[in-house]
Symmetry: C3
């Protein structure tokens, strides 16, 4: 349990009383109660208010707020207010301002705007965290610490440059090692002095964001900036922990956010929390995958849904309203996949600046008469009714998909073979196939212990880090099924090619050699023709993006290409390795083929779907103390029917028993306990 | 009359003799005479020539030019030459150079390039205006002053930053008031010192031009820059007026140019002048609307068509030639809507630099043998024939459309609900419907006295400034019809939301509450289904962009939505208010619905079309001393026929009487005097 | 012969042994021998290695490399290593770093990155060239000097600004002349001091790369930067020549690269070399045209194919593999059009940084077992078999197309009439028509001696430089056929319009006057209707982009427009001039019309196709000592048949005699010697 003070699914969200007056606060109290709200994230953006100048700290408003909330039954998710520095600080200590990718020193503005290597920022954010901890360590309403907010954004200033050189010295030990790691003899870039190294941005080695002349330095700069921002988090975290060792600490993440290696961050967090803002056209399987990734950050530990909108967003091009029922549906989707909280941005809608058209539980009209408020209040009641039933329940999966931020950076940075290759999309193809098959899946890091899984899938495992190949070989030899794809095993952790033939360190396991990599033009495709039928996997499928031209070295050919100069050569192979199998998918096929292939692989391992839900209905289970809770989420506007295959279930909300088949209304949710 | 020295429709344009030699001047004299040209805009870009260094002024060339022109019957629209500073001045006084939106100090180049808060610019432009006024105050050819040229372009330099802080202090009185107006407690942006405020650009609060974190500061910066440029105009204007109080002063505007609040500018101008450069694919109704807006800047006062091309432009992607007859047609379109001059850019085509492929009366070939020259000469003859008949004639309209630059800025800056919402386009939908109905319309400011109108339309009146709601209520109570749309009444003049339910201050008048605003994805649409037929308004229409979900509070439902979760809720309402009616159009419907709705509203007020012209034929009337002149402009390539419904007219150009029906040749013009 | 040391078609490519270890070098030796490689381009990017600090030079690795290669039968194309400055130099002497188009001082990074007017760069690159020349002047393996690499990239720093002012002073003599040449009275840009002139970039006169307010300064800046970079080349060249006067010197060019006037560069080079990187969708006729342009740079002298990929590229969006046979096919295409070398980038694929996915003869797998290696080795054998047969053979053409970089710059910079007008595309339309007709064509400069040609085509000869019109008149008067198009003869070398009617200096020769230039919107077109049938030229053709509205002044009308207001006016004319003819194509017609027109013009002059090859099969001939070698290149995947019309040929590779008809396999090559 995140904090036993509040032994239920936390319900609430961001709350900025400092933008409002006393009269409004009274209304807030009344409406929070009505909506069943029991947690409020406060103090997120109040640094300027808390510290009006260098020597003055004033927490009066916050004292009042925490007291008032607590009196009203609302606990505090207490932020440290360091997500945007005060204007006076920016003017007095310009080192706190970032230099952007174009090399321009920024002025005061925005949020998440501090240079992570600014001495001023590090000093005063630590002081702030310490002061807050000392002041509120004994407050009964203090539930959890929320450090800063949505960390992100890189800096390219001179302080960062110095810190980068030190970071490199620590990582590599010597300039010679750096030169080797980055292959600087290419284009005569050999460094003879640490100070010769400049930050890679639009003024030096990079252009257009992810294009670079030297993958090595660009990759390391991403590692370094992720670590620099993490260091800021850790500085605050340590101050908090020094005073309140038992209060959990988190910071809100952002799913597949590209700039930070969240697996590294997770190691420093007590509990993962994240902000879920799907676009209207985001596939539900993508949102599901993101929840699973957030759960995977700490190897399955339940997480917090820290933010979602109750109604509309404001920063998308077209901000459609969530249709009736969708807020509840997506809230339970989070819970189904491991969330132990349901929280919103935000509780009351602001009147000015850029988020005033972002939805809130309490709208500009200020009353309880809106559809949004009513839906929130109904969900609040439901969550109270659920009590602690679902808290700490775990998701059991026998299939894991590996996701790795450093692999993603390396793929984003690579020059060639095809701009059509998008790592996250390739991962989602495999996840989506399993989602469609109703197979429970974990999203895990390259460092995860694989022994509890039957099937491990590593799409486009381009970068193979030290020890990984060996661990996968052990997993496979012990009876597991490993699957990887084209453009895998190419480079080491420095983005240096593993010589001797692709897929490098995975070649032995896979039993193939990839001689050529052909990139297909937009609109072009090839065919994968199955020559050795495997269950559902038969006939022919479309494929594209990249086609590896491969030769078997022990592997069995399951399918071959149907067109072009490599027609008849292998497109899908499987290699028996010890007691297990290693699959190689040499191209990017249509989802249909992945579903047929993965269905067969799961069948071999006896992995069953959660339920046989029809398309449009999502299912996911959580288990706790021997009990299994199955969520049935109907994303369609119309009622759906799910066959239950003779098993008996109890509906957790209504208490009714369900047999044979389950009816789920359009955009409806059922939570079943297996009897 | 703009200036009684030349009591006819002025005819001429921009003329740069300083780019040519004496031999060419002689040809100019000959050809101007042949073309009927009687006004030349001179000295627009001659600052460097007039003031070759800080201490030297040399107007010899200008003396000669004014004398020569006057001798040849050509008056001077005398510019002040301050539209581009000299290169030496930029080098000596870099404060005159702007800092751009990206924060980069510009170097010498371009035009309209001076920082409006540059002490150097303000000093030397004033001196120049004074010197010109003193030198030419008694010149018989001096017809009108033309200050600078096409003002525009913002600056973000330190001088502007200082001036902005002073402007804010003057506007708000205190930092507390600024903090409140901008809602700076959002994201912890509270300012404790005036110097904490930095200009909003790509280095601070904004990105991509109109995206901003804080609407308040961005909105105020637009106000401030518009006012700063206006201040430059006023400084010169005051110098001119001090010496030549009776010579009118203008500066050429640019229609719907986004950066300047032309209603504020108009207050300082004796006569409006503007440059009309429709693209080939600009709807003729859009050009008509722009003329009407220019007329509306000074509440109906006739204006100057200062520039148009006689043939081609150069700066569009595809610069097609105006087809035979189109130059004359579009010239009369301006006159029909209130212009008392027809002027070109330019009289002779330059040989070098970026405008050498912009058309001119005299082309590079240099002779009178071109189609362009011949068409210009024919029009010159016609305008001489018309004499002073049309001068000062007014346009009478009973329908007004409100346009407001600050509302536009606020809408451009808003984050959400939809990037598809374009204020000018929404305004044009209503204007276009009236244009198609041949209803004469005024384009007016939010400050305009509405009492002379029967119908006032305020599309997307997002920002409601102090007193506006009350004035509209009075107008409606007295019997007028007011119409506004979705996303109206949302914010006050600081872009702070009016709490208590949309449409805020207009809610009482309209008798509705807008609970939700749904943004439609591209390609999506809904239907407006008329439930209470009103004349032509019946059946069902397509709508899109935004759909307000509203509740009536006294208003009558005329139509409802046909689809989605708000199917059956009101989409079009009318509220009886005193003796009048207030309409709310809750979405952006197809033009057909607006035509049917506005036809019905006009019918109720007995507002008649100018003539029942068919599609493609534009009509507009001007009246003077009891006489009405109706312009019939055939924008089609083929002849059209217009029924006259038994009225008798005299053709102003041929003198013939016209009865029953009027034939207008393809791209032809008829001017009829009602008998 | 480029160098008699190696009297055969050189075969090899770029080689970077400094990136590898001794073990790999041994493999290189073995594989080079196996592949028939006899030339290696070395030392391209080794400045940092050769000069680790300001005072130290170390060529040990290069000594070893040249010795090792020579022992293995591989000669050196010895680069000067100055294509990327060392990092230490950038830190110590920042003047070597460029200021970019946006006005930003760059940091260390990339390649081809030195300011061409940097004193540091010029000093140390000269020292390097001198040291290399002195060290290797007697090395038996030294075959040719390769100065720097792919020169390109402009700089906008203060050193460049100063040098630009001096360059202007030298070119124009006085500021008055500059003001006149740039027409600076436009927009009041008159300069009174040299220092008033600032470089034209995004901070002054330009935007979006080629948009400018003043064509004059922008055009001159391109001339100046091209000359500045050329000066860098010349400095090194002079050092090399001072020591090794008999070793040829080159630098590798890049075909139609826009920034450098290669005709000026060619004057300073002993032999042209270039890097051929067609995209997958580059028409083969475009590649052929580029080879012909490279040959034309030195009036037909054979050139070096310095770089091509044996398999894939890495920097294109989609990097498809060269299909089997294509590497050989495209190698012979170069030879067919004048190349005396076949060289690759690169011999061994690098393991790190941005070119690691660029193909190489030796792939990452490191063995001879790849398709790529095998194809390379087969070609190596073939080239050894060919010996010196083809060396120095010339291409004979009676048709020339004029291409001019300054004309291109002027067209790129022009504001109006249409962004659809692309000079290189218009040139390619004419070249492509001749290519399809199998007519051998030369690509020549505006300075080329035209007397050896029967037909000279100058598409969009917008800028007519001094003396050009006279030379074309002489050519035509003597019996030649000259053809030019719309938008020709407009400006002089300063981009100032030639007054008195288009096409200016060409008007007399062409016998027409172009009154108007109409630009067509995208998707719009007109028709060219032939009124005076000429052989195949008959009926009607589509045309677009621009339509000149012209009047004949002696010329005969061959075709007229079919639509719009200029329907019935001339669209294609021919003027008899002395013994010759001058054609004017007033618009941009479809290729079919150009084929019909050019076929007729060639027929009149008795110009025959090389062979009557079908579509998809390219033919080109080289002659030497009375022998003609005809290359037949089948770009189709399927076998093709070429009729030989009774002539007898010998197949150069097989030695067989070929009669009547020739079979060429898909992507196959035949080289025939005419018997």
């Amino acid at each position: 349990m995140i904090n036993e003070k509040l032994p239920k699914m936390w319900y609430g969200g961001d709350y900025s009383p400092e933008q409002w007056d006393e009269e409004t606060w009274k209304e807030d109290d009344r409406l929070f109660k009505m909506a069943g709200i029991d947690v409020a994230t406060v103090n997120v953006f109040s640094w300027a208010l808390n510290q009006p100048d260098e020597d003055t700290y004033d927490f009066g408003w916050l004292d009042e707020t925490l007291d008032r909330l607590y009196k009203n039954g609302v606990y505090a998710c207490l932020a440290t207010s360091t997500a945007a520095h005060p204007a006076w600080m920016a003017r007095k200590y310009p080192d706190i301002l970032r230099v952007d990718y174009e090399g321009r020193k920024r002025r005061f503005g925005g949020r998440h705007n501090s240079c992570p290597n600014s001495p001023t920022y590090r000093k005063y954010s630590a002081v702030m965290a310490r002061k807050l901890a000392e002041r509120y360590k004994d407050h009964p309403g203090l539930l959890i610490w929320h450090v800063s907010n949505e960390y992100g954004g890189y800096c390219y200033c001179d302080n960062c440059a110095s810190a980068f050189r030190k970071w490199l010295e620590q990582r590599y030990g010597s300039l010679e090692a750096v030169n080797k790691a980055w292959n600087t003899r290419f284009w005569g870039h050999t460094f003879y002095d640490w100070d010769d190294i400049v930050v890679p941005n639009a003024l030096s080695e990079e252009w257009s964001g992810n294009r670079t002349n030297f993958q090595g330095i660009s990759l390391d700069y991403r590692r370094f900036q992720s670590a620099s921002l993490l260091e800021c988090y850790k500085i605050e975290r340590d101050e908090l922990k020094a005073v309140t060792p038992d209060i959990p600490v988190t910071t809100n993440l952002m799913g597949f956010y590209p700039e930070l290696d969240y697996f590294e961050w997770a190691k420093e967090m007590d509990v993962i929390s994240w902000d879920n803002y799907p676009s209207l056209d985001t596939p539900v399987s993508f949102t599901a995958m993101t929840h699973d990734l957030m759960r995977g950050l700490k190897s399955g530990q339940p997480f917090m849904l820290m933010e979602q909108t109750p109604s509309v967003q404001n920063w998308q091009p077209y901000n459609s309203a969530k249709r009736p029922g969708v807020m509840r549906l997506w809230s339970y989707q989070a819970v189904a996949r491991g969330a132990d909280t349901v929280m919103f941005f935000q509780l009351r809608r602001s009147i000015g600046a850029c988020e005033k058209y972002h939805g809130a539980v309490i709208d500009h009209v200020g009353t309880e008469q809106t559809r949004t408020f009513k839906e929130c209040a109904e969900l609040g009641t439901e969550l109270q009714q659920l009590g602690d039933t679902l808290l700490d329940a775990r998701v059991d999966a026998k299939v894991a998909i590996i996701f790795d931020w450093e692999n993603r950076w390396a793929l984003d940075l690579t020059s060639g073979p095809s701009i059509a290759l998008k790592y996250v999309d390739e991962v989602h193809k495999y996840y989506g196939a399993l989602f469609d098959l109703n197979i429970q899946t974990d999203m895990v890091s390259v460092e995860e212990n694989l022994s509890s899984y039957d099937v491990v899938i590593a799409p486009v495992m381009y970068m193979v880090k030290p020890g990984f190949a060996k661990r996968v070989e052990e997993f496979t030899a012990a009876g597991g099924t490993f699957l990887t794809t084209f453009f895998s095993g190419i480079v080491n952790e420095c983005d240096l090619v593993t010589l001797g033939g692709y897929p490098g360190e995975l070649r032995n396991l896979l039993g193939i050699w990839a001689e050529e990599i052909d990139a297909l033009l937009p609109g072009h495709s090839n065919r994968v023709e199955v020559t050795s039928e495997q269950g559902q996997l038969k006939g022919s499928y479309e494929c594209g993006i990249l086609c590896d031209v491969i030769h078997t070295e022990g592997a069995e050919v399951i399918a071959q290409y149907g067109e072009d100069y490599y027609k008849g050569t292998p497109a899908l192979t499987v290699n028996r390795f010890g007691k297990g199998k290693a699959w190689y998918v040499a191209t990017s096929p249509e989802t249909g083929m992945l579903k047929d292939l993965l269905a067969e692989i799961c069948r071999e391992h006896g992995i069953e779907p959660v339920l046989n839900a029809p398309a449009g209905v999502e299912v996911s289970s959580r288990t706790k103390e021997g009990r299994t809770y199955t969520f049935v989420l109907n994303h369609l506007a119309e009622e759906s029917s799910v066959p239950l295959n003779g098993e008996r279930f109890k509906d957790l909300l209504s208490g009714e028993e369900v047999l044979e088949s389950l009816q789920v209304p359009g955009r409806g949710v059922r939570i079943l306990e297996r009897l």
